[in-house]
Structure formats: C-alpha cells, structure tokens
C-alpha cells in the first residue's frame, strides 16, 4: 500500500518507545538497531514515524538528504512492529516501506541506495557482477542446473551467489542437498535478484519487474517447490510471489530430512554453539524452531542461547539493503559488532547463522572486534555438512 493509504495512521504513533525494547525486558538495553547505534530520538521507530508524518504526510519539513539517510538507515528488522503496544503495530514497517516508495518516486534516496537499485536493474544483482558468473561458486561441485522433473529449485540469491564469505554457505547447502538424494538444481545465470531488498528499499516498479522475470523463469522450467539459502529470498518468494510455488527456507527442509532419516548427522559436531535468528526468518516468518531443531539433532552440539533470541533477536544490521548501502555507518556500536560481542559473551565457540547476509555482516564484525581466534561464524548448512555421516 502507498503512504497515502496510511495517512490517517502515521500520526497515531505516540512516541512512547516500547518499540525500542525486547518483549520481556530480559535485555538491559535497546533492541532497535539504529537507535542502539545513533542514540538520537530521530533514529528510532517513533522518531521515524514522526518525521515521516512531518516530511511526507504533512509537508511541514522538506524531505532532506538527512531525512533520507535516517529513513534508509533502518534495517527493517521488524522489532518495532513486534513490540509496539498499539493496534496498528503491524503497519509500522509497512509505513517505513511506503515512505521509501515515496522517496524513490521523488528520487530522494541516498546515493548508495540509488546505486544498489541501478545495479540490480542493470545486472540482476547489487554487485555489478556478470550474470554468467552467478554460479561460479558451484564450480568443481556436483551441483547442477535445474531440470524439469527436479523436485526442488535451489534458489541461492545474490549474496550467496557472489559474496565470497557467503558462497561457502551456498556450497555447503548444495552439498548437503546432494547427500540427501533429493533431486534439485540451481538456475545458474538464469537466476536474478529475488527483489526482497528492492522491495524494502521502496522501488516498487523494479520489484514487480524482478518478480515477473523470476516467475516467468520458474514457470518455464516447471518449478513447483523452491528451497532458498537466504531468509530474504524465502520471505519475498513465499509472501509476495504466486502461491503456485511452495517455498521453504533450507532449515525447514533440512530439519524434515533429518527427521525422515534422509540425512544422517550421527558423525556429529563437537562445539558450543549459539544461534543468531535472522529477521526475515524469525520476526517476518515466525520460524524460530527449524534451525534450533537441526542444531539440537546434531550430536556434540551444545546450544547456548544469547540474551536476545527468537522474537527478541537483535538484527545484524544488514537488513533493508544495509549490507550493501551501509547507510547505518561504521563504528563500535554498529549492530553487527554489538551482536558479535553478545555472541562471544555466551562462551560459545561458534556463532551459527542461517542467512548469507547475517553471515557476511557478522564475519566483518568479528574481524573489527578482533575476535577471530575466539569465535567462528558458521552457517547451519556448513555445520550440517560437517556433521553428515
């Protein structure tokens, strides 16, 4: 829906700030990633709502460059929608997205956001990488292209396809799926951006285009079931694409494959592990159990929860395109660095993730914190790969 559709709602935000906390106050601190970093009221859900009202609904403030930076620093993590005490709570992130659509219409996005969108338009990915190279990560593996009658399309997404850190997860998942005996394939150079971030950044037209293109490809190939590496892809394919496709996040599929005995994890994996819930799997799609069920099924893993878990998880800071645009900026209190410190405090030696965006964000933060010798970031697919008998 457009911002105009929310014009009678935006001013209802009371700026009371419940949305900055976790639901059970189990954590001494704030759970809105941008407020945790900036500590200015403007960078908070209530501040955003009031600024959107003043700038884009009432026209009392000119939508400036600074406003656009504040708006796009939000990672769309959905903590605010989860914690706001009012009836309209679900609409808060919808308003944030609608405000971005308005900024895109007026061409007032921060330069890095424009760059992201342009790159996706020109190249089908934000990195300006060639389409032909999209499946380079799968070289020297047995992972092949999707063929009609394959049961699953393995949809990798831009980050898993091109980011060197996340490619490890893409390969590991491919390997695990091969080991399960499931028939599946990837799209290779026919895969283009799923559009989740494009949608979150407010470029509706481009999102519709991506959706149409992907849908066309899926249909041409006769795809019925899709398994995604990224929760971002999962979110948009499941909720915004046609219902004809049955969409799974890989943790859901692997959990089922373990349960049905198609994957044997008896080799185990000996480590203390803590798990970081990605926003687009957790708060957006309410899937908290599948990743944990996998981890606890693997012999040798001791799962230790961080202070903030499940619906109270703290965003890695990469959502809403920030993994690329970095509107949120650097420094000691970037969400990813806060999160890595929190993971380290549990005493775990492995910080498990189930999202390529979280993986790259947290990996960078680990280096910035100098914790590489104490903690390793591993995707659940990598842990599974190592645990297979």
């Amino acid at each position: 829906m457009a911002l105009a559709d929310y014009k009678d709602m935006v001013h209802r935000c009371f700026r009371c700030g419940y949305c900055k906390f976790t639901s059970d106050y189990s954590y001494v601190g704030f759970n809105c990633p941008i407020y945790s970093k900036a500590r200015l009221e403007s960078y908070s859900p209530g501040g955003l709502m009031w600024l959107i009202y003043a700038s884009l609904v009432k026209g009392k403030l000119k939508p400036s460059k600074h406003f656009s930076e504040i708006l796009y620093s939000c990672t769309m993590c959905r903590n605010c929608s989860e914690e706001c005490k009012f009836q309209f709570h679900d609409d808060i992130v919808h308003v944030l997205k609608a405000a971005r659509e308005e900024m895109v219409d007026r061409q007032l996005m921060p330069p890095m956001v424009s760059q992201f969108l342009k790159n996706v338009y020109d190249y089908g990915n934000p990195y300006r990488e060639l389409k032909e190279n999209r499946d380079n990560w799968a070289e020297n593996t047995d992972i092949r292209h999707y063929e009609e009658d394959d049961e699953f399309l393995y949809y990798v997404g831009c980050v898993g396809s091109y980011d060197t850190v996340s490619q490890k997860a893409a390969r590991a998942l491919g390997n695990v799926l091969l080991r399960s005996g499931l028939s599946f394939g990837i799209l290779g150079s026919r895969e283009i951006c799923d559009g989740n971030e494009v949608d979150m950044l407010g470029e509706k037209g481009l999102f519709e285009f991506l959706k149409e293109e992907n849908t066309k490809t899926f249909k041409e190939l006769g795809v019925k079931k899709i398994v995604t590496l990224s929760p971002h892809s999962y979110n948009t394919l499941k909720n915004n694409y046609s219902d004809e496709f049955e969409v799974f996040h890989y943790t859901q599929l692997l959990r089922d494959l373990i349960k049905s005995g198609k994957l044997d994890v008896s080799r185990g994996f000996k480590a203390k592990v803590t798990y970081h819930d990605p926003c687009f799997l957790g708060r957006y799609n309410n899937e908290y159990d599948a990743p944990r069920e996998i981890l606890t099924a693997i012999p040798g893993i001791e799962l230790i929860e961080m202070e903030r878990t499940k619906e109270n998880s703290f965003c890695c800071g990469g959502g809403g395109g920030n993994f690329y645009t970095d509107v949120i900026g650097g420094g000691e209190n970037t969400p990813s660095r806060i999160r890595v410190r929190e993971a380290h405090e549990t005493g775990a030696s492995i910080l498990a993730v189930s999202c390529p965006v979280c993986m790259m964000m947290l990996e960078d933060a680990l280096k910035a914190e100098g914790l590489e010798n104490d903690l390793a970031i591993k995707d659940i697919s990598e842990i599974m790969d190592a645990a297979l008998a």
Partner: protein, 457 residues
Amino acid sequence: MDIYGSLVEIVGEEFVSDQEEELYIYSRDSGAQQPRKADYVVVPKTVEEVQKIVLLANKEKIPVTPMGGGLTLSGLAVPLKGGIVLDMKRMDRIIEINEKSKYALLEAGVTQGALYSHLQKNYPHLEHSMPDAPPMATIVGNVVIQGHGHLSVSCGINSQMVNGMEVVLPTGEVCKLGSCSVSPYWFTRDPLPDLMGLFIGWLGTTGIITKIALQLFPKPKFRDLLTFTSNELDLLPDFIFDITQLNLMDNLFIISQEWPPWAQGILYVPIVSAQDEEEFELKKKLHIELLRKYEGKITLVEGKHADRMREARLPVPPVTLGVMAADAKQGGGFEYTGGIVPIEKVPEASTRSVEIAHKYGQPYLLGYQLLTSGHSMMCGLAYCLNRADDEDVEKVRNAIDETNKMILDVGGVLWKAEAPGQRLMVQKMDPNTINLMKRVMKALDPNAIMNPGNWSE
C-alpha cells in the same frame, strides 16, 4: 563563536545535531503543548562532557534543557527558549547495586526499563518503584518531577527514595549530595542538610543530575489486585481513610472513565503483595471484609472485568490503560493535568473535571493514584488528542488550562505542570516563597541558562 563546532569537539560529531530532523523531534512531545524550537541536540556520554557543555553554554548564555525520556506529556523537556537539548540517555551505566544496603547507583540516562531488566536478571529479589509511564522514562526524569511508582503507598513517592546525587551546577562545578559527599557509600540522604531539594521539583532549572542513588525494595513473591466499584463519589474520602488504616497496600489506583461503560463509576484498585501465601490471602481478605461497612455501596468486581484490570494494572513494567488512552481518538496523544489534592477534595475535583471534559466535548478519563499511605491524591485528569488536528490539540490545551485552574481553586497543587500551569501556581504563590525561589535560581544559575521558561512568571 562556532557553537556547533565546540559541541562536536566535546562529544564527537555523531552525537551533536543542528539538522532540521533532530530539531523537529526534540522540539515537541506527545502532549498538547506548543512546540518550541531547539537549536542543538547533544547526547553526552560522561560527566566531563556534561560539564564542558555547561561551561560553554554558561559562557555563551545558551539555554540548556536536560531531557530523559521526554515523557511528561507537559513539555517539560521541550526547550521553551531554544538552545541545547541535552539527551541524557547515553549516560546509561548501572554503576552498582548495593544489595545489602538496597540501593542502585545509576547514571542519569538509565531508563526505568533498563533498571527493571537489570534487577530482574541479577537481583530478582529486589525491585524499584516503577511508574506507569512507558519504560523509556528515566529514573532521574521521574525523580525530578516527583513521580510515583507501583510502591507509592507502601514506600513513598520516588523523589523520597533518593539517597544521593551527583550534579553539574549551571556554573560547571560537579557536586555530590548525600552520604556520598562524605563516604564512598551512597546509602543515605540524612542526616545532612537536604541539598537534593535544590534539584528535585525544579524541572532542570537548577542543574543537571548526572548520577543518582535510588532505594530498592524487597520484591514480593505474591502480588495481586482487587477491583471494587462504587457509584457514590462522596464516600471516597472515608473509604480511603479506612482502607489506608489497614496499612496493607502497595498501591491504590482509582479509575473513572466514560468508556467502557463498566468503568463509569469509581473503580478502586488496591494492589497487595506478600512474601508468604497465607499473609497474602489474609491481606486480600481484610480488604474485602472492609466492604461490609459499605454494604451495597462499594462492591467487589470479579470475573472478566477484574481480569482486564489485572492485565492493565498488574504488569510491571506496565502497559497501562494510560498508554492506551493515546490511541483512544486514533490521534497519537494525550495529556493530563496531574493535580495533587487533599483527600477530602477529591470528590469536588472529580465532579468538576467531568464537567470540564464535557464542556470540551471530551469523554472523561480520570486516573488517580494515592500518594503515600493516604496523605494526598494525584488526580490525573486526562484528555486524548488528535495530533493531526491542530484545533483538537488547542482544545485539549484549553481544557488542561481550565482543569489546572480548577485544581488550584479546590486547594490542590499542580504536578509536573506545563509552563502555563507553573505560571498559575507562581501567581498564587506566597510572594516570599517565589522570591526565595528566584534567589535560589539566581545563586545557582546566574545566567539563567537552565531550562529557562520554567518556574518563572
């Protein structure tokens, strides 16, 4: 002089803003008062930074308005004369919990939510008296306005629970008050001259509190509320007298509101707690037995309405009916006159506030809190507003003004009064008292830089 540049030098670029967006946000609150434009927003981390900011402001005669959660709804942290808004919430260290002497030593930006979380996690047998305000409110902001929490009746109002303070004076000196001025322990405010009185109730006009020691209390194993209903307002003073003579409550809310219909009468909501189940049941029983004296006139509410009250009033931190009032008109705000009145004047104040509400086309919405063990009543007379409708906001401002006058007229005083309400009190005040206040303010703040526009005529 380059004020912005100097502020950046003190706290770093990230934590100063003179951009329209921050100025907009810090120039208004969720109540009905007029916005006042800030010139700078600064978010300090240390007492040294606060000190430097104050020295700069004092030299350049720039107003400084300290702000915690900014949640009073009466514009008390909105900079009436512009200048710097000092958002204190980055000073958020919980420095110490002294378990045996039961106090928390906190930096000024620690929120109610943060202290609650810290105690829940590390000292689950201790609690602090938590206001019904959203948990973003700071401990210090609440103390400064003499707020009250869920232990108001059993343990007193929150400003009475302060053992010590560190303050930055408007001229830049850092000063310790209470036992901490003599000893490493922040365990008591007595028996020294009570200099903390120079900062409590002054709404930031006399200095900036940077640390505070707050008393903690045993957390009970059992806590519940009872709901009594009555249609006879005149019984209120006697009933309050009787119920406080039992001396068994943590807190007592009184609610009367036009909507929903079952809340139209007077709802008395005593909160009781105990460490032991038998004691707990006995306390509840004694309260219910009190109703015999008021047979047919005050009755116990049970069932779904009582459960709804539990849901709204029992959780700490609260999600109160009060917060919900902000969306009653789907308008994003409300403001209330907090009149503190003698118990015998509550019926008159209530009747007159219903009349005022109706005159302004508002449903009545009264939320009262008994203060200490029956010594006065905070009468929260609330008006919901629609922020999108300037006329509606102005109407609420006028209703607040009229309610303030009524409270003063019945012999009450105004709690956390907006600047116009403060002026009404100053006009009524004994001239020698206001002169003394002026002398104190002048002595502490010769250039009148601290939250100016408050406590002045």
